[in-house]
Subunit: 310 residues, 4 copies
């Protein structure tokens, strides 16, 4: 079960489809194995980059069951954000029954004032049950909801089942500092802070007090190394590693087409059998594919240099 | 099957819940009977005011089956707007198998340019199948998507299965005139135009060329009379009737609390057993209940006067 | 100087233009005289419906000077909402020097959390000076900013120069009750509450505790009568009057084209010489003009009946 | 005068303030000299990052005059986006009289459909005069307006005075390819394409067909070098240079706080005397200052390595 000590890399998993659009069960197992080999601490499925909204209810539950089973003890967090609480409850309860470690919830755009945000999470907890550990997904660029640090504290204090902040406000370094400050000052219970936004600020997020990353960059192994280096205090090495990946990280972080980049690389790395997306699907133009190849080649050269091979 | 000749009143049905939040099967039948007695031509279920998003997938299909069965030939349109095409397809196909007459689709907010809107409906038709008659729901205040009349024409021309425009841009009188003008000029195939927005402009919408109303005012019988009077050319009588209801119509048209007003009156009229909503629920304060009672009393006095009884 | 006892009708004035787009000085005087004859308590200029954004800085100040001079003691509130504080300050200081009674400020859309809203008004007061009485314009449909009643209270408590709430959240009856409740409970200093939204809920807003209206309906004389009747406790008479105007009120309340309706009627009533708007301008189609004429004819018939003449 | 052949770096200039918030005339001259020394082709003032909205009308014109005079022949583009056409015209005409090379215009959020966007620019051209060369600012993340490539083409074809596309949709590489493709296919007149977004994709934007950059990174000298290297076909060198700056580029590209970073570095580099912003101002926390210092130190080390000094 997910708890407030969670740390490391919870990779945001893609959802593998076949070229004909059906869920790709074989690739799903392969992908879980791939992520495990990358050294991730856990996985998060059915997030935005997991094309959660493109599955119907039965598919979402089926996919969850398969991943949890294959993960074989590796904790799996399930995105259950939904326009309605009944759907959220159905998926959350099914996921927990299947063995998921917890769920993740983002508020809908209609929620605006501080009290409305706090009230929304109270209704969400009532819907899924207070026995289900959950992460607040704080992602204003996608949700349209801006949560002050004090609002996050109110939610954490109101619900013992809130164990994690998935932090991806952008820019957001000061928010990590503020929330971590609350915890250190004893004015807020500890929760795990994992960061998103494709990892584009992970270098400094770790230094600001994050416990790790929850993002889906196609090189989760780099994320794992970076988090480890930062924890070991190897700052220069961490930044060297990060900077080498930043050109690609940035390229993959593009809204829409970024998922095409990610699936394209994951396919190249053998993690999935097809880079197909369901509609509305983003596509890589030939020029974009060449750009990705160029970035990968530069990354490979860097790796060889780093290993003294060039 | 819904077709482009549809006219009259397709009432937007509420979804009856019990006080404990469960679907209220007994009230569902009662409600269908009530609407029939009001003289409606058809019903639209699982719209925004039908709390569609608050049902999970299984409930949505179960509710659809019950309504279609009880409607017993009265055409039922099912709202299938969804953040994803798989869910849209699942509900649309199940609804049609259950005997629904057609479906209604609104685009999501992310769709912005003219081409994106046209492309979205092409993907939606691909998802649900080109054999399913559908209505475009043009409701920018809720969807965030603004469709030029020329965009509506492109969708209609591209898809024979598009048979209806649910018009509820506000303000929107000129749009009805524009779309109706396309049809009369022969530059666009005929589709049915039914109007929403709680009916607050139905008096003039009929004069601009609408074929009727698709809205859920708690006095559907009035909507039926108004549409009939306008078709008969009884303009003064139509406006007299409309104006008598406008104070309440406006009161019921309030975002959020309007649904509480509607369910409150429908319960008073015996159409449903409880005015409960699922979360996030709007509530009527005691003051608001008194205001509704006052408006109903004034309406009753008007009716007596109109019948020469006062 | 505007203070917290303000009550009655502060009409939202239009800005008269000539057909060639220049400010119409002659009509400006005529308009002020017209509003005075209608019995208004005060005037608000350079609001949204005053096309404030269509004037450049020099025109805004010149127009303000002329209106204040012609108003000759009738209090004039000046809308000074601006994307920047320097422009806000320049206009506010110039307006007060010219003899304005106070200013009105709405926050920009970027302001989201409770603290951000409170902080914005603190910066605005710092910009215009704490000696300038101001009204909070609470108009989320236009501003995108949702203010909880508790946020309004924080602003009022922080700034003695805040003397008025221009209330136009929609729906908003419960908010009037909440804010008035704060005042009656002694948890908030009294401010004047005037309501907007074209007057479409003025009947009940007065009963909920509003002190009057700040809106620009083309029959300000009706608003004056309605406010007076409600204060005298003549509830039935107030609603009868209101209901007679509601069909037109609603028609004039349409976003965009509503201003064309208003200027068209004000021109007919002799208040202004031209109904011209600057770009982006809304226009009345011939059909719309006929609809307005029809509504005016129905209103005239009602007035005759009310006077026992028909 | 700005024309369609413009290329190179048009740096987005900051607006220097003194610590007391007044315009800093001495720093303004110093800044112009600094940018010239960096090798820029031109300057763009009163953009979003130039805090344009924080100046009142008189200040905007005064600042424009000073910059144009000091620029002494270096072309100056003036941002004239405004909520109203009268203000836009006043600033545009004054700027051109002062010797500006052209203006830049972004549409307001209310403009949505393809036709509305095209219509908006027609009204803007009517307002400023068809003799004033202008750039379309295509920046949906800030404006809320999404322009299809075909819409850009319609604007370009309709107005000979449209000479430039300031491209900063994000992601936007495919859009550059599409617009450049129109030009190459002869279906659209040539316009200059300069790119923004802080330069975070400038490496590939140049390869996609951009003519240069219009952005305000605190190392405009790097932008100048990068544009030159890409034009010379020195791809590897260009990417090496870009990648070395990307960690800082990304840090400076943060919404809000990014301007504090930029002014902080520009002050360190001696370009301006104070890093003050007017309200609403972003601030660098001590931790953030240390992060910037760390990134600058890493950049310095890279430069030394690149020059064979380490």
């Amino acid at each position: 079960m997910l708890d407030a000590t969670a740390a490391g890399v919870y990779v945001i998993a893609v959802t593998p489809f076949r070229d004909d659009g059906r869920l790709d069960a074989a690739s799903t197992d392969r992908m879980v194995d791939f992520y495990r080999r990358c050294g991730v601490t856990g996985m998060t499925i059915l997030g935005i980059m997991g094309e959660a909204l493109k599955l119907d209810a039965a598919e979402a539950i089926g996919f969850t069951r398969q991943v949890v089973k294959r993960a074989d003890g590796l904790p799996v967090v399930v995105g259950v954000s939904s326009p309605g609480f009944a759907s959220m409850r159905t998926l959350a309860r099914s996921a927990m029954e299947a063995g998921a470690a917890g769920v993740m919830i983002a508020p809908p755009a209609a929620v605006r004032t501080d009290d409305q945000i706090v009230g929304y999470f109270a209704q969400a907890v009532e819907a899924i049950g207070s026995d289900v550990p959950f992460a607040i997904q704080d992602y204003p660029q996608a949700s349209g909801v801006v949560m002050a640090p004090s609002v996050i504290r109110r939610i954490v204090e109101a619900h013992a089942s809130c164990v994690m902040l998935k932090h991806e406000e952008w820019p957001g370094l000061e928010k990590i500092t503020a929330v971590r400050g609350f915890i250190e000052a004893g004015s807020m219970r500890r929760v795990s802070i994992l960061t998103g936004n494709g990892g584009t600020f992970l270098d400094f997020e770790m230094e600001r007090g994050a416990d790790g990353a929850m993002t889906g960059y196609a090189f989760p192994d780099m994320l794992v190394d970076l988090v480890r280096l930062q924890r070991e205090g190897a700052r220069e090495a961490a930044h060297d590693l990060f900077d080498a990946h930043l050109p690609l990280l940035r390229y993959e972080q593009q809204v829409g087409v970024g998922l095409a980049v990610r699936k394209h690389i994951l396919k190249q790395r053998g993690a999935i059998g097809s880079d197909a997306q369901r509609n509305p699907a983003s596509k890589l133009s030939p020029v974009a594919r060449a750009e990705v190849a160029y970035l990968l080649a530069r990354l490979a050269k860097h790796d060889m240099r780093a290993q003294g091979l060039a």
